[in-house]
């Protein structure tokens, strides 16, 4: 195996103090301990802290906190929605992206605001810098370096569902025990992880870092008896920038005016003119040939661990769709980095063949590899064992987030991390746990899919997974989540809350002002001569209805009625989107309400589905017993649960409710 060099030549240490003194951390009792400093772990620690919990973040190396271990980018279609929602709940990711982004674009610009995908190329070191500076300066949060070897577990609280209760963690190398109320595990690919390159296999979760979590795997599997599965993923080789012939590629420019991810940022750290481009190239038949030659010496591809239906590696792309040109994006790793990340060339063949493969691509014919690509196989905990608040059903106080739940991607990890952190914090502070609905957020869709259906391949967000896509748009994530985040969840700062309320008031006022403008078609034609209002139209048309015409923007209306509308010009784009989508969202309202009500009818987690109290067929009993849905809504989404079974369950819930009210 080639000696593996660091991805970043010199990790840049932030100028502020690295960690608070960790010497007395072991004597203190924490509300929440978060294990792991990736995207899930950092959001979890920050969210628990925002809730008000005394929190400890344990990571192997403080300098890798906030590391982008794979692609130097974030957001995109579906994933961008998650970033906006994490931001709306006051998470770190959106603001970190605005600070570290060096190339901003909104994907799907021509396809409708519901599916716009805000995306950015990131500077790796800036991203880490931002996350570390946030975490290391956060009140109530302590960060220490170390490896967790096992969980401290005691008998369950009989008042609550579950077989065990977590009481803390045990550090490795004969380290101390640290006590706490809740633990959030975000160990990524480190749970029994093995790395693959060619025929070589070595234990580990990320190249260049020590394997860990053997003790944790044991705790989860043997002590807690959890069901684990195995998944695989991979990363491409990094290429030395100056060896690439960019003249043979297609230039991909960023948006001229970068749009920030965060609702509280008006501009990005990177100035528009400082943004750097990406480049696009394609594979050749030579690439296919090398892939086929590499098969006998490529154990990652041969092994039958569940990979996704989509094609994460160049090997699987070529094997599934031979004889095609596959796209390869050459992405910068940062403003000052001399490396290129070839998106689309994730591979696990031996390093010398990796070099042959990339050199089959004309633009890369002279390219040199800095770090070869490799594959990772790792354990995940089957997420059907979780409540929608990401706590394990069988272990009180133990929360899981990120790849450990079978997902892939920074944004998916961050979203779960935030939600697990919120609930770990709430549980520690004796507040009831909360779940997010599919009807209000992509985070809700993500978690519901995980806990109801489980995973068979690394789970990744797509907009097609959201049945209420029309309502769950990136533009309105703040309206959907920020007020709730402050009023009900408690994870949003006053400053952000006030901003969201201001925006909401502005939008509401603007729309009602638009509706107060009502003119006959001839009047509108006179004012806006270019708009093709149908000759047959005879009823009055409101300003909001005028926005339904494609070529009528809010700015046009504002210039026609400056006194009334110009105060709202800062919301121009959002008002247009609201007006166009409102009729469609209203159509979905009933369906959404129905789903919310089903989800508000909870089923007891320890319910004995085999008891004779409820009449159900044996088949349905088994399905329900296996899945243990938390709500009637979740039960109904299970395959094989019949309408009749639901009526019986409803009947049961109704009766129990009456009894408890009678008490």
């Amino acid at each position: 195996m080639l000696p593996v060099r660091r991805l970043l030549a010199q990790p840049r240490f932030p100028s502020f103090s690295l960690a608070r003194s960790s010497s007395n951390s072991s004597h203190k009792r924490y509300d929440v301990i978060v294990v792991g400093g990736g995207h899930a772990g950092t959001e979890a620690a920050a969210a628990a802290t925002r809730i008000g919990a005394e929190t400890l973040l344990i990571t192997q190396k403080i300098q890798t906190i906030g590391a982008l271990s794979c692609n130097p980018s974030m957001g995109g279609i579906g994933k961008g929605h998650l970033v906006k929602e994490v931001d709306a709940l006051d998470g770190l990711m959106g603001r970190a992206g605005d600070y570290a982004g060096v190339h901003f674009s909104i994907l799907n610009r021509r396809k409708g605001p519901a599916v716009w995908g805000p995306r950015a190329q990131l500077d790796r070191s800036r991203y880490k810098e931002f996350i570390q500076s946030e975490l290391l300066n956060m009140p109530r949060l302590t960060v220490i370096e170390g490896s967790v070897e096992g969980l401290l577990v005691s008998a369950a609280d009989p008042e609550q569902p579950g077989k065990h209760r977590v009481t803390g963690v045990r550090m490795a190398d004969g380290g101390d025990k640290i006590l706490c109320s809740s633990v959030v595990l975000t160990t990524g690919t480190f749970l029994s992880g093995s790395l693959f390159m060619g025929r070589t296999t070595s234990p580990g979760g990320r190249m260049g870092e020590a394997p860990s979590c053997a003790g944790l795997s044991h705790s989860l599997k043997e002590v807690l008896g959890l069901k684990l599965g195995r998944l695989k993923t991979g990363t491409p080789p990094r290429i030395i920038r100056e060896t690439v012939n960019f003249s043979l590629t297609q230039l991909q420019l960023p948006d001229p005016q970068p749009t920030p991810f965060s609702f509280i940022n008006t501009h990005t750290h990177c100035k528009p003119e400082e943004q750097i481009p990406c480049h696009l190239t394609v594979t050749t038949p030579g690439v296919d040939r090398v892939v086929r030659e590499s098969l006998p010496v490529n154990s990652h591809v041969q092994q039958d661990t569940k990979g996704p239906r989509y094609c994460p590696s160049i090997e699987s792309r070529v094997l599934r769709f031979p004889g095609r040109q596959h796209q390869v994006w050459l992405e910068p790793e940062g403003l000052n980095s001399d490396l290129i990340y070839p998106q689309g060339l994730s591979m696990t063949m031996p390093p010398e063949m990796q070099l042959r493969l990339i050199q089959e691509i004309p633009a890369l014919s002279q390219a040199e590899i800095h770090t070869p690509g490799y594959g990772v196989q790792y354990d995940f905990v089957c997420p059907t064992q979780l409540f929608p608040w990401l706590q394990l059903k069988s272990v009180q106080g133990l929360f899981l987030a990120g790849q450990i739940n079978g997902t892939t991607g920074y944004e998916e990890a961050a979203a779960q991390g935030l939600w697990a952190g919120v609930n770990a914090g709430r549980t520690a502070l004796s507040l009831p746990p909360l779940s997010l609905s599919r009807t209000e957020s992509y985070i809700g869709v993500l978690i519901d899919d995980l806990v109801v259906h489980g995973v068979t391949e690394p789970y990744r967000m797509f907009t097609s997974r959201a049945e209420f896509r029309t309502s769950l748009r990136p533009d309105n994530a703040d309206l959907r989540l920020t007020p709730k985040g402050r009023e009900e969840i408690g994870c949003v700062s006053q400053h952000r809350y006030q901003e969201a309320v201001r925006v909401q008031q502005g939008l509401t006022e603007a729309l009602s002002t638009l509706n107060s403008i009502s003119l006959s078609p001839p009047c509108w034609r006179e004012k806006l001569s270019d708009v093709g209002i149908s000759e047959n139209k005879s009823t009055l048309i409101s300003g909001e209805e005028m926005l339904l015409y494609t070529d009528v923007s809010f700015s046009i209306l504002a210039s026609t009625f400056p006194d009334l509308l110009s105060p709202y010009l800062e919301f121009a784009e959002r008002i247009k989107i609201e007006a166009v989508y409102r009729p469609h969202c209203e159509k979905q309202q009933r369906e959404m309400e129905r789903m919310r009500e089903e989800e508000s009818l909870s089923l007891p987690p320890d319910f004995d589905y085999f008891s004779q109290q409820v009449s159900l067929s044996n088949e349905v009993r088994e399905i329900l017993d296996r899945a243990r849905p938390s709500t009637l809504g979740a039960a109904m989404r299970l395959k094989g649960v019949t309408p009749a079974a639901t009526v019986h369950l409803l009947n049961y819930v109704t009766k129990t409710d009456r009894k408890t009210r009678g008490k």
Binding site: P113, R320, E598
Partner: protein, 505 residues
């Protein structure tokens, strides 16, 4: 068939009753729309002089006015009024009958209810159902929906509710079989084909939305969808306009005779027909295809089928016959499982085990629904009297099998008792108004198809402006079709995407 709509609404009402706090969306949107109005034939389908059609919901009053030709006031509550029943679209007089008006909350469901007591002929009933279906805001009721509304309005007490789940189960199953019968033919193929094609269209649009930037999905993908959607829409529209509607509706309770070869199935069939409709011979495997006839048993419409004897065979014609027989049993409302009693084990204690295995072989496996079935031990004229009573003794001690009749098609012994038992079954089945009504199933299908066609319009409206809203149109259309052919979930759409396109990370 998806029944989700009705009981989901019911759930909503309970939630309200339970004062479950429902959080309102903070986005700038208004409240939900009103409750649907439902209609259905509420009387049984046997031979009857009067049929009752019931309409429940906010639009019931309007429906009553337009169908009964009442221009102004509604009739006095709970008072019968003799009116001509009209088709409001054509003003054609369908029947003369009694109309009644039960304003909510003093009605069975707690909602406004209109009732039409009309003549019991299928043409009249279908005419009135179609007339109601043509009114805005009305849709055919799903199984058990009236009862459920009554439950949620607090009109049933909890002991009555205990039976509700079972009732819905039975009705769901009956409807499922009814739908299957229609779906088994060309019509089913047609619907499934539409559903498949629409699924593909949607998957390709979704692929274009989720993956076109960063993966190689060209605009050409949408060109094909642009051709397919109008084609599909046109086909569904033509189908809806086609008055013949492809298939004859076969009304009646489906009774199927099944069993091993040479047990006397065709003999029983001929006895019930009272004519030698099927060929009877001592040669095993005489009946190879389904022999079918419409009958009237004790005043109830019955579709009786004789099937090929079930056995493993190398003969390819007979093999097909066996396949059809098994399929027929799956669709049956009542299965008459015939056994040759001379083949029973000699030792009486072994009999029940033998019969249990026999039933398992004949009836569809994995069907947890207790299908209506009668076990018939034929040819008892060939057994000694004492052996028969020994068998009878054993059977009275085993209750989990199925109701058993012992008879001889040859000597006609035991036939009377069998006919009484069969009539009881028919009575139960026919007393259930929703169960076997093909026209109602069809009305429901038409309503879903109509919704699908309308939803597809949204695709064109937004195709060039907002692809997310265009895709929403396809989603709505597919969900309407899905109410006939089965729901298509997000995972299935993703399956098509990943099969048809190379999607990277």
């Amino acid at each position: 068939m998806s029944l989700s709509r009705c009981w989901r609404r019911a759930l909503r009402m309970t939630a309200v009753r339970l004062r479950v706090r429902v959080r309102c969306d903070s986005s700038v949107s208004s409240a939900a729309g009103p409750v649907d109005t439902i209609y259905a034939l509420s009387s049984g389908q046997g031979r009857c002089g009067v049929a009752v059609v019931r309409v429940s919901g906010p639009a019931a009053g309007g429906a009553l006015r337009s169908v009964a030709g009442l221009s102004r006031a509604l009739p006095a509550p709970r008072t019968a009024l003799l009116r001509s029943i009209l088709n409001p679209q054509t003003n054609e007089v369908l029947d003369r009958g009694l109309v009644l008006w039960f304003p909510g909350p003093h009605s069975f469901t707690g909602e406004d209810i209109a009732e039409f007591h009309i003549h019991g002929g299928p043409a009249v009933i279908n005419g009135v159902l179609q007339a109601l279906g043509s009114l805005p805001g009305l849709r055919p009721a799903e199984a058990g929906e009236f009862t459920q509304r009554a439950f949620h309005a607090g009109k049933l007490d909890l002991t009555e509710v205990e039976g509700l789940g079972d009732l819905i189960h039975a009705e769901t199953e009956a409807q499922r079989r009814q739908a299957l019968r229609q779906m088994a033919g060309d019509l089913g193929q047609l619907y499934n084909d539409w559903s498949q094609r629409l699924k593909r269209c949607l998957a390709h649009v979704e692929a274009f939305i989720d993956f076109s930037e960063g993966d190689l999905i060209e605009d050409g993908v949408l060109n094909q969808v642009d051709l397919d959607v109008p084609q599909l829409q046109m086909e569904i529209e033509n189908h809806l306009c086609d008055e013949r509607r492809g298939e004859r509706l076969r009304s009646g309770v489906q009774v199927v005779i099944a069993g091993s070869t040479n047990v006397g199935k065709s003999s029983l069939f001929n006895i019930l027909c009272q004519r030698p409709a099927a060929i009877v011979s001592p040669i095993a495997g005489t009946t190879r295809d389904i022999v079918e006839t419409s009958l009237d048993i004790g005043g109830f419409p019955v579709l009786l089928s004789d099937t090929a004897g079930l056995r493993d065979t190398g003969d390819c014609v007979e093999k097909e016959g066996v396949r059809r027989a098994r399929h027929m049993v799956e669709l049956a409302d009542v299965t008459l499982v015939l056994v040759d009693s001379t083949q029973l084990p000699q030792e009486p204690p072994m009999v029940s085990g033998f019969l249990r295995e026999y039933l398992m072989n004949v009836l569809p496996s994995g069907n947890n629904y207790k299908q209506q079935r009668l076990l018939i031990l034929n040819k008892i004229d060939l057994l000694p009297k004492e052996h028969i009573s020994a068998i009878q003794n054993v059977l009275t001690q085993t209750s989990d099998l199925a109701p058993v009749c012992i008879l001889s098609c040859h000597s006609r012994e035991g036939l009377e008792r069998f006919l009484t038992l069969l009539q009881d079954r028919l009575k139960t089945l026919c007393g259930d108004p929703l169960a076997g009504s093909p026209s109602l199933t069809q009305t429901r299908h038409r309503a879903h198809l109509q919704n699908c066609v309308e939803a597809l319009n949204q695709y064109y409206q937004y195709r060039n402006v907002d692809l997310a809203l265009a895709a929403e149109g396809l989603r709505l259309g597919l969900s309407s079709l899905g109410r006939i052919t089965g729901k298509v979930g997000a995972e299935e759409i993703l399956d098509v995407i990943f099969r048809d396109f190379c999607i990277g990370k």
